[in-house]
Subunit: 252 residues, 2 copies
């Protein structure tokens, strides 16, 4: 199966990597890791207490390993975009994060602000309460408002389902709604919920959205083994903060 | 020490209750609890997966016990205001919650939207990363932007420090900044951080802000004993989801 570069078409097609079949350059110490791993990772720092020093370090790591993106809270978008200037690494941020129970107008305003400051990807949280109460129009319009803003600016949207709070039936419904609303990815978890990505959920989401949309696994992915399982289950992107360790473990 | 009614001056003056000295009516089953307890509680439901049914129940409880406010995520403000119409219970919501690392313009927009929809109190989260990195002007301006919007609409602002992420010195600095920025309350915790309110932190915050500002203890307050300790340490408001249990335990 061919490698889907992270900087074209946003990895819409599921990539099932055979991790031991790496084409990474050998000998060059800084390039011993498998780029097919690093290129699928959103290098993530969403902690409330992250400082400028922390964010700068994450950007440096992302440039070095060529992660797909650096994913930070909205306050840091401007800084990250500047730190990543001239690299292939995208700036990713969040909207309505991590609870999702914000007004749509605020999620859209947050997205608008993010793309204006240079974010190429926005990970928004579903209105989970609306979904659970079968208020599907609310959930769909909420996503559509963010999608419109992002697509107008050439940015993509990932919809975080927070799968730990949903039944399987609700997960499938949420996938359908995200797809109908024009989102580019569905994503498992915020990392702040009761638990993170599972193989079961990633496979279910991949089955639900087919091969056209992206599926991002996130939350609790700390090792190359975790990463591999998620990609094999159908993830086309992985969110992690242990990205450097995962990339280093992929060295061939 | 006299009882500070929850609906005047927003309990700015620390109230140190003697819980056994209750003036609650006896005999009337629905009024056996101590109103001096209930009147200090922000009845809180900030879970991501809360549904309309959950929010309605919380509003009914708040009317019955006359809690100070119902505190919900922004999506629910309109609904809560309508459910509480004609009662003394205020509508409280959050901004930049729970991570605080949003742009100030978005926190202010969230607050503006909230007060327009009827919120009388807005609990915003400090820019914790800026505070920790000693970027004090950023932290202060962030609060000021929200305070301006809220005060213009007659609403009050509580600044959540997320004390579990700060040193004592940083907590004191955060209190000073919140006070300088014109906030009405400092508040310990989001309930989503590593830990919640402690007697030590509430006492430290009360000492820092003096008697003019409010201090709200929140996070992990589940019993009347917890409540009592917080008020004795200087809290003039308590955020809780176990509010009914606390109020019932105060019955004399």
């Amino acid at each position: 199966m061919s490698f889907q570069p992270h900087n074209t078409a946003n990895a819409m097609i599921p990539v099932r990597l055979r991790l031991r079949d790496s084409g990474a350059a050998k000998g060059d110490k800084t390039n011993q890791f498998d780029p097919k791993v690093a290129h699928l990772i959103d290098h993530t720092l969403l902690k409330a207490d992250a400082t400028r020093t922390d964010v700068r370090r994450v950007c440096e790591e992302a440039r070095r390993y060529e992660f797909a993106s650096v994913c930070v809270n909205p306050f840091w978008v401007d800084f990250v975009r500047a730190e990543l200037a001239g690299s292939v690494v995208k700036t990713c941020t969040v909207a309505g994060f991590p609870l999702g129970a914000n007004l749509s107008e605020i999620k859209a305003a947050e997205a608008r602000s993010a793309v204006r400051h240079g974010a190429g990807e926005v990970d928004m949280v579903l209105n989970i309460g609306a979904l659970r109460a079968e208020e599907y129009e609310i959930a769909k319009n909420d996503i559509q408002d963010v999608v419109r803003v992002c697509h107008d600016a050439g940015a993509i949207v990932k919809v975080i389902l927070e799968t730990a709070l949903l039944t399987d039936e609700q997960k499938v419904t949420a996938c359908r709604i995200a797809q109908d609303a024009g989102a580019d990815f569905v994503k498992t978890s915020t990392g702040f919920g009761p638990s993170g990505a599972t193989v079961h959920d990633v496979a279910l989401m991949r089955k639900s959205v087919g091969s056209v949309m992206g599926v991002k696994a996130s939350g609790g992915i700390r090792t190359l083994e975790d990463f591999r399982k998620m990609v094999e289950a159908g993830a086309s992107r992985v969110g992690a903060s242990a990205s450097v360790r995962i990339a280093e473990a992929s060295a061939v």
